[in-house]
């Protein structure tokens, strides 16, 4: 950094001073960090709620809270985790920070809109948390807001619905911004098939955000109308149909799963080539599978409703498509493993997290097929098996990918290195704790433990005790990881511009990046992940 005359984005002085230079910044990098801090904060809020639930479930009967409190906890845990952390997480934090850099642009297409999205996001997030305390008690419907209960419940469901609506709007605007950025702002020479794969994943994600989110928006409005005006769309007594709500809800909320997982796949696709010092295997296949997942993902929502009352043919159709969508996901797994094959593998924390991503994602994916098969679904529907499955996908997939991303890009974002050893130890806690926390749910789920239950039969206690122990190990690892990074951000050793010998554009600029990213917009002449000149890069 010593011979770089440019001011980094962290030190840049704009028109506003102090805290306002962050809160009013339209710099995509600063907005990325604003999202990062918000995501970490709300993650620990929701993780604490999760931990309280685990403590409650350590023994049958009442342990530390009343049943109604428990219902409120799992609802808000779900709403915060899904709408505030997992859906926006990777795209808003790392997408904002690195999308423009990876495609050789100085900012996103609409910087002011980008800042506005963050404010919408914060409004929605605080409203979600506030719904715990405002009005007539914490909402107790679960994050899925199923009617008729969400219409009848006397708790402050409307606050939570409004929060989800606002967060959805924020998500739409971010997606819109990214699509336009990718279409209009790529560096000269960066043809579509020369674009790195994290931007490709964000592109597929952004289309889902733009095209699916409005459906949940109108659905939530309809539930609000049901509660306030008694309009009758979902009320059988007035001629409506509660299953209709489930369809509308999952038309968005299943694609939303791909909003969560596609950027996660994009992150690890960046990490494997760098730490194997090898071009990514099957670039085109990864691009096409991303788009295929986004496309087919629209047509599988019915698999959430196999037991809700659907025709035999509809169930057959949705089950078949669910199996189809597994194929592009599997293609990606083969690509990642083939990328490592024969490479000079450097097992640093980012790669460690990326490999555990594959491991956990595979378990989550295969158990997803158990749920997607019509016969086994009847046995496992609404049991702890489902809880285990989606935590393996969402936390094991998106969460571990988030950890991989933060360890991969941290030196670039802050210009400092973290302690590798502590990062590895934290990874160990996280990996062991995670598996101990969620794996027992598969077993007790198959044995018949229902999800969202406050009390249970004594025969499930072993599983629950193991799970709660896992929760404590996991939270220890998470705290250790965050402390390690926080210390590094303040006192870590200065990071070089390219600590991992990566070849994508973000490694060609100083760490931390200058305010305008690039002195001169680079001219792109080759495929990404071209390690031909790697000897030159070695120090």
């Amino acid at each position: 950094m010593g011979n770089e005359p440019e001011v980094s984005y962290l030190e840049y002085q704009g028109r506003h001073k102090g805290i306002w230079s962050w809160l009013l910044s339209t710099d995509h990098k600063r907005i990325g960090l604003l999202y990062l801090y918000a995501v970490v904060f709300f993650f620990f809020v929701a993780a604490t709620l999760g931990l309280l639930m685990r403590i409650e479930l350590i023994a049958p009967g009442r342990t530390i809270m009343e049943p109604q409190t428990y219902n409120g906890l799992f609802t808000i845990h779900g709403i915060i985790m899904i709408f505030v952390i997992v859906i926006p997480g990777l795209a808003a934090v790392f997408g904002n920070f690195f999308l423009p850099i990876l495609i050789g642009a100085r900012d996103v297409a609409f910087p002011k809109l980008n800042l506005f999205s963050w404010y919408l996001y914060m409004t929605g997030a605080f409203l979600g948390v506030a719904s715990q305390f405002l009005g007539s008690g914490p909402p107790d419907t679960g994050w899925t807001f199923y009617v008729p209960y969400s219409v009848e419940s006397g708790t402050s469901v409307i606050w939570a619905l409004t929060a989800a609506f606002i967060l959805g709007f924020s998500s739409i605007l971010t997606g819109l911004n990214f699509i336009v950025t990718i279409h209009r702002m790529r560096a000269p020479g960066m043809k579509w098939m020369r674009m790195p794969l994290f931007p490709w994943a964000l592109y597929a994600t952004a289309w889902i955000q733009v095209l699916a989110t409005p459906i949940i928006g109108i659905t939530l409005l309809m539930v609000i109308a049901e509660r306030v005006l008694n309009i009758g769309f979902f009320d059988p007594a007035l001629g409506g149909d509660p299953v209709l709500f489930q369809h509308l809800f999952w038309i968005y909320s299943h694609p939303a799963v791909y909003i969560m997982i596609l950027p996660a796949m994009g992150v690890v696709t960046e990490i494997f080539p760098t730490f194997s010092q090898k071009p990514v295997f099957g670039y085109g296949a990864i691009v096409i599978s991303s788009l295929a997942i986004a496309f087919v993902g629209y047509f599988v929502w019915g698999h959430h409703m196999f037991t809700s009352g659907m025709s035999y043919y509809a169930r057959w159709f949705f089950s078949f498509l669910t199996f189809i969508v597994a194929i592009p996901s599997a293609i990606k797994v083969f690509n990642w493993i083939s990328t490592m094959y024969g490479g000079s593998i450097d097992l640093k924390p980012p790669l460690l997290y990326a490999i555990s991503f594959i491991f956990l994602f595979l378990i989550g994916g295969f158990t997803g097929l158990v749920l997607g098969s019509l016969a086994t679904n009847v046995q496992t529907h609404d049991t702890a098996f489902v809880v285990a499955h989606f935590h393996y996908i969402i936390f094991g997939g998106m969460g571990f990918s988030f950890f991989a991303a933060i360890h991969y890009w941290f030196p670039k974002m802050y210009g400092r290195m973290y302690n590798n050893k502590v990062a590895n130890i934290a990874w160990g806690f996280n990996f062991v704790g995670f598996n101990l926390l969620y794996f027992p749910h598969f077993i007790i789920g198959i044995q018949g433990m229902p999800r969202r239950a406050y009390d249970y039969l004594p025969q499930f206690q072993t599983g629950h005790v193991l799970s709660t122990i896992g929760a404590f190990i996991l939270i220890t690892g998470l705290i250790l990881m965050v402390i390690n990074l926080m210390v590094a951000a303040r006192r870590g050793a200065k990071a070089p511009a390219n600590p991992w010998h990566g070849v994508t554009l973000e490694w060609m600029i100083p760490s931390p990046p200058p305010h305008e990213n690039f002195d001169e917009i680079p001219e792109i002449t080759t495929q990404p992940y071209f390690f031909g000149s790697k000897d030159k890069n070695k120090e």
Binding site: A109, M185, L211, I215, G217, A225, F233, G239, L248
Partner: protein, 204 residues
Amino acid sequence: MADHPTHTEHIDSETGKLGMWLFLFTEIFLFSGLFLVYAIFRAKYSADFHVAAAELNAFIGTINTVFLLVSSMTAAMALTAIQKGNKRLTLILLLVTLLLAALFLVNKYFEWSHKFEYGIYPGSPVLKNMSHGELLFFGLYYMMTGLHALHVVIGMILLTINVVKVKLGTVNSERYLILENSALYWHLVDLVWIFLFPLLYLIT
């Protein structure tokens, strides 16, 4: 913000329009949720829907359709006028558009209050005594026209901003992206109504 003087002040027109088109997609999807619900209940209770639609005043609906169609035309003409640098004509056309939009809302107001007089509003005792299909029809009627009216109001706010900007000269024959995007939005408002009108008023 002055942070990026080179990038935020002048979003080029292609970029701005692409963003607007995407936003219009999301608006169409927002309404499509309601159209989907309409289609399902229409199929289930088609006879009731016919009866209920007879309650709506097709004459007022037609007048409103004309208002919106003409206002869409004047919005498009305002855009052409600013491209040709005719500031006065642009202002007149924008004000005519606003006037027609306001007339649309006035009509809507009388239409709704007329229904209210008969006790037809969501959750009313009169409605509860009607058949399920009629009840759902009026639920959809209020929700769809209500959401549409909200969009009319937002469109009017956008057009008013344009009136001010044209007057100040910040929207001129060189830079008219915001006017172009507002006109696009206004056409969407019109387009949604083109679908609402036959589905609600003309199926008797």
